[in-house]
Amino acid sequence: MGKLLEVEDLHVTFQTHGGEVKAVRGVSLALSEGETLAIVGESGCGKSVTAKSIMRLVPEHIGKIKSGSIRLKGRELTTLTEQEMRKIRGKEISMIFQDAMTALNPTITIGEQIMEGIIRHQGISRREAREQAIEILTLVGIANPESRLKQYLHQFSGGMRQRIMIAIALVCKPAILIADEPTTALDVTIQAQIVDLFKQIQKKTGVSIIIITHDLGVVAKIADRVSVMYAGKVVESAPVREIFYNPQHPYTKGLLASMPRLDSDRNMPLTPIPGTPPDLFSPPAGCAFVARCDWALEVCRHHQPAASAFDDQHTVACWLQDPRAKTVKYTLRAATGL
């Protein structure tokens, strides 16, 4: 089965007053047709920058794709001109953002905003475009689409705005939908509606989805595969069940252990990951997780671990996977207050 999208060894840096930030430091991802890939990680781990790099939306005067390759159906995207890229955005790959109120234009009716993409990519008349806009609004579950086309963003609730953004992204039937924290700004009951909408849309249109989130509950519900990012790198990639039931990287284990669950015993203290993520102005020479890792070895301080195959679906970037380290015994850290 051919991969729809492949990202290989992507490096992205930003020039700031404080120096160069290495936001993405060698990310590799793969997305198959009809699949949902979740990218998980904490703020600042480079998950949004990776997504924006795929869309080539990293602002060019400060951000730079240093090296690496992004291939859509075998076609290299990093070397395309802006003009060529415009034919891909919206038509081949679409993106939706966390906050619809700032991502969409408050002074233009939502109908215009939906039709803009259709007219640009398909070159059809306004009337036909309007019909498609009505069709897509129905698909995302907005009642009375004819009259709502004439309304502005502020006339919609938070959940409805998210639906409109999804409609705009899907209207040209892209092969890939990238959703950057699509449910984070929403209340739980609305969040459940939107997550369900993603699943329905995927069933109906077959679109492949990359969802970026820090909510492991959403991941469990929606993802087929998961890539866990930490400090600009993918530390573990596996099918969703493997990530939750057989995690290998200490960071993945730590993330899962630090979340309270509704069915867990509340007298047990939570198991946090001590410390904070490293500074990406000067990333550590070795593994970025070494300072917070309970199983850190001497080699972890000096050399970055390469991604190694745990099995054919599951890759881990950790020195504990090295055959010479296999004698290390995993024990869960005794839960301490701090």
Partner: protein, 319 residues
Amino acid sequence: MERKKLVEVKRLHKHFTIGKGLLLRAANDISFDIYQGETFGLVGESGCGKSTTGRTIIGLYQPTSGEVLYDGHNVHTDKSREGKSLMRRMQMIFQDPYASLNPRMTVADIIAEGLYLNDMYKGRQRLQRVYDMLELVGLRKEHANRFPHEFSGGQRQRIGIARALAVEPEFIIADEPISALDVSVQAQVVNLMKQLQREQNLTYLFIAHDLAMVKHISDRIGVMYLGNLVELTTSERLYQDPKHPYTQALLSAIPVPDPDLERERERIIIQGDVPSPVIPPSGCVFRTRCPVAKPVCSERKPDWLEVAPQHFAACHLYQ
């Protein structure tokens, strides 16, 4: 066991006038007690009035009607010496660790401000108190002369906790104290709060929208919807046997980090959005989204009843 009621909230209303003669009913007829030494969780979606309730309890807002008693003293009207001391005995931890610390003050000044205002720990003792507080929350003495921007989100929240605890309070209102933090850091702050509660016999009002975290930290939980308290019971009971349809929907909407369980689970997805609190529905405020609404729900507001021992709900299903 008869426990001491530390905070008594009695029929508290807080309405805001928002111009054009409109009234925003942010908190409507809220009544509950908080016992000494417990953690009381208040949950609900954004705009449900949980923060307004917390801010009114501590006296940041004057109530429209109703009263809040702290250890027998009315928080809003008691101007006696005892009444004024409540400002010290109740402290607050805020949601946004970036906005709630003055960027122009050093950490030492931030923590010592309450000591200065309350005339506590004079002279050399004051700086020592600051150092002690920093150590208590897991920071170091060297941090005292730094400014807030030099710290990460989790560290800032620790500074906010140190500031609240410096004046030896008994009761802490924590308004979404962890929602601005990353998952791995949230657990650090929650464990710290639990540890401090044991060591200093603190009472907490923990306000949050993350039901899993609230359940983890609270002894009892109140659920709010559109300005009203709809259910109140122990955290175990609330999870095992939720009575109000809104609580049931809320619990079932929370995604569980467990793929097999998550994909099998029957869930109640409530349709539509929260109505405007300016024009709330007649009768029961949840009826417009309720899967089991009856005609009576639009006619009359359900009474607040004890539907099971220590389990209160306002719903016509149980009237």
